[in-house]
Subunit: 482 residues, 2 copies
């Protein structure tokens, strides 16, 4: 059976076809707008009310499911090229209009908050149907890109016995009695009696394990859920989110930047080509949403312009040290318009600084690199100190318009002695990451990788401004419903 | 830079090329077997020892990384079509032979147990390189198949506030003080003070959430990690494994079987075509392993024959009731050869029964369907009782040679009242799954889906007999290392 996305591309024909879907609207006892989830567009099914029993007509309600038979004709009305001249309507499943009225299925504009509370139904709305189709297209594009480039997906573990990675607060996973856990003689919880015979947590990143696989398979990537137990109730944070982490043997930082830029352009281009209707709809939605906002909070440009802005520009590569100079001498800094004034070399950059660089100064996506060692993770490759004795690491962040940092990566420290010293200095326990260190003994080549929070990418491409609206069932502090 | 998989397919040429990889062996100061993870096959790099400094020659050790330059010539030796006439060798990273000797990188046969203990290194061996490449190919094939069929991946949640699904024991996820959790007035752990303000667990299945997405997008699938906190220390169970769960609106059980059969054949065929060298190697490995085993424990047929057996046969569809009759009257049952004799209608089938049906009776893959309602989950579609008043549900299991059940699925109960009653009868708390039930009010159409444990598929295609050997870092009772 053909789905509606395909039917809407077909030519008028006298051949009878059967279509199944859900009713989005039913006007004048004559026009059924039918949707089956394959596209944002509905198939208009035109019926002659006098040919159908009254109980059938009365059951063609919003959210009910029907099967229709008919043949495709050129549409008489505007808004669609073809429509279904419908000879038969069969009710597959009803929906009580009184019940529907209480839900987000009712045909009116609903607040995003309300939609979140009915996350089991919201995918049946135009906005969430479009977002989730774009999400799925981006997800496939990720796999397709890496496949074409000769990468292997490595399914790194979700449960980890190490809490040493330092990327954020972790969730503890246990099967011990939650109220009266067994204790050791010293009075601590005795994790040797737990399921894994040690304390276990949910992973914050698959990178360290992915590195071990890059040393075997050469080019690998992860694409799986990661977790942060941080009490951040913001529109940009989730406790559970999906992350993409490629890792490549023999790549230095410059090759890592090349890979990241090529990858980002590929997946965005894929979505634009394969989800044109959905993205057009989402652009309109964003424009409507922006009308309610203060000028300063609006998107810097229309959705598709923003996506094209990334595709058509080379990403400008700028060292952290240069960026600090630019920011220090920038108008908003001198006029004290930044919330966080830029003064000292060594400080971390804020979103306002990143956006200034992208949107005002360079007017293109920016890759910042060679960050101060003190503000970055232990596993990043240490550079030689500069003339002023300042220590940097081969880190890179990609900055995008409207969003700031979207990708973070680095060349990894491949030298056994240097890594051992850094782990010691930064209090990373060797007994937990012995394997990560040991790997540096056996043909430990230069290698690099990066991480992309998948939901950030989906936000960027869909124009949704709250991260809870780009994942089916968001997990945030106080929320694990569904 | 070309990778070795590609170079081995190339024609001899005078053009100089550069290759990087790890040394697998170095014979007679002349032949370097170089591997970069892109293929199981090594590139033979032939050097003239007199052209290279002694310290270079001494550093070309197993597991060291080198860059070589040279041009491709027809191979003089047997075993490869082309080899690299090498003019330059650069040591990129060393490996101390004394250290290598202590690891599974040393060039001899290692026990699978030992390899598991060095899971950070085992991917650099022939067997695990092959297994993990096949795993990655199967993973991509899953996405490719569903993409081509118009499915959308739905990223269902890993953390769930519901523990009602009944598919198995769950892991608790918490950020409460593990030793002194806050208590309610009744003296219970006060989960309202936990991160999610309720008790949270790791998911055992994304099916219920996937069903909600099928009602919006029509055809969806999940592919993500799932968890079982069961103390099963067997070669077939993991605490953390990846699951694939398609869910399709309007599909009845027969359509579900069609989908599952088509899908299984597609992904196996994809692996055979895209991993021919790896699978050939793994077939040989299995043959060697089987030589150590008693006849009864050996694989029923060589690896590739077994895969072709699945591809070329139609899956035989047999009702549970028929299967019980066949088993009851079978020779091994009459001769009491089954460990679990088959007697009563209503009993669950064991692996020995499933394998008898596939390997002896039908000699083809089998789909059993319409199981007794009492041994299956609450969400399965209830059939009309049969003439003898026996109640069955529209469940199906796919049985494969050597392994038994590999896929389990069902048509789902779409009727609100019937589902509500079943939830009540089977003690499924409505307050946790209100959304699952409520979905049945709004155009609740016939729909079906199935689940495939991804590691079971990888075992089947690679011939590995312990599930710990088909995932990078296995999680089992007492083991969350790495």
């Amino acid at each position: 059976m053909k789905r509606i996305a395909e039917i809407l591309q077909a030519e008028p024909s006298l051949i009878e076809m059967t279509v199944r879907g859900w009713v989005r609207s039913f006007r004048n006892d004559r026009f059924i707008a039918l949707n089956d989830g394959s596209t944002i567009n509905n198939l208009q099914c035109v019926i002659e009310p006098e040919n159908h029993a009254q109980d059938i007509l009365q059951s063609i309600n919003v959210a009910a499911a029907v099967e229709v038979k008919g043949h495709l004709v050129e549409s008489q009305g505007s808004g669609q090229r073809v429509e279904l001249q419908t000879s038969m309507v069969k009710i597959l499943a009803t929906a009580d209009p009184e019940d529907v009225k209480k839900t987000v299925l009712s045909p009116k504009r609903h607040k995003l908050d309300t939609l979140r509370e009915q996350a089991h139904l919201r995918v049946r709305t135009n906005t969430f149907g479009a977002v989730m189709r774009v999400r799925a297209a981006l997800s496939f594009a990720v796999h397709k890109y890496f496949q074409e480039q000769g990468f292997y997906q490595a399914h790194t573990p979700i449960l980890t016995g190490s809490d040493a990675e330092g990327a954020g607060e972790m969730f503890r996973v246990s099967t011990l009695d939650p109220k009266n856990p067994p204790l050791t003689e010293e009075g601590k919880v005795d994790y040797s009696k737990d399921f894994f015979e040690k304390e276990a947590n949910l992973t914050v990143s698959g990178q360290l394990e992915a590195e071990t696989y890059a040393m075997g398979l050469g080019q690998v990537y992860t694409f799986g859920p990661t977790f942060r137990a941080e009490n951040s109730n913001t529109s940009r944070h989730l406790a559970e989110f999906w992350m993409i982490e490629p890792e490549v043997a023999f790549n230095d930082l410059a090759a890592n930047m090349d890979l990241a830029e090529d990858f980002m352009k590929y997946v965005i281009d894929y979505a634009m080509k394969n989800c044109a209707d959905d993205i057009e709809f989402l652009e309109q939605r964003l424009e409507n949403e922006d009308k309610q906002k203060h000028a300063a909070e609006r998107s810097p440009m229309p959705l598709r312009d923003k996506l094209k802005f990334v595709l058509k520009n080379n990403f400008k590569r700028v060292s952290y040290t240069e960026a600090i100079d630019i920011l220090r001498n920038s108008k908003p800094n001198k006029k004290k318009k930044f919330k966080y004034p830029v003064d000292q070399w060594g400080a971390d950059l804020q979103s306002e600084h990143e956006r200034y660089l992208v949107e005002k100064h360079f007017e293109c996506p920016v890759i910042l690199f060679d960050y101060p060692a003190t503000i970055k993770a232990f596993y990043m490759r240490l550079n030689e100190a500069d003339d002023e004795g300042r220590k940097t690491v081969r880190a890179m962040d990609i900055l995008f318009p409207g969003i700031g940092e979207i990708v973070g990566g680095s060349q990894r420290e491949e030298r056994y002695d240097v890594l051992k010293q850094k782990m010691h200095d930064m209090n990373i326990p060797e007994e937990e990451l012995w394997w990560y260190l040991e790997m540096r003994k056996f043909g430990s080549v230069v290698h690099s990788g990066f991480g992309l929070g998948f939901e950030r990418l989906v936000m960027f491409v869909t124009g949704m401004t709250n991260i809870r609206d780009v994942i089916p069932y968001p997990r945030t502090p106080g929320n694990a419903e569904f």
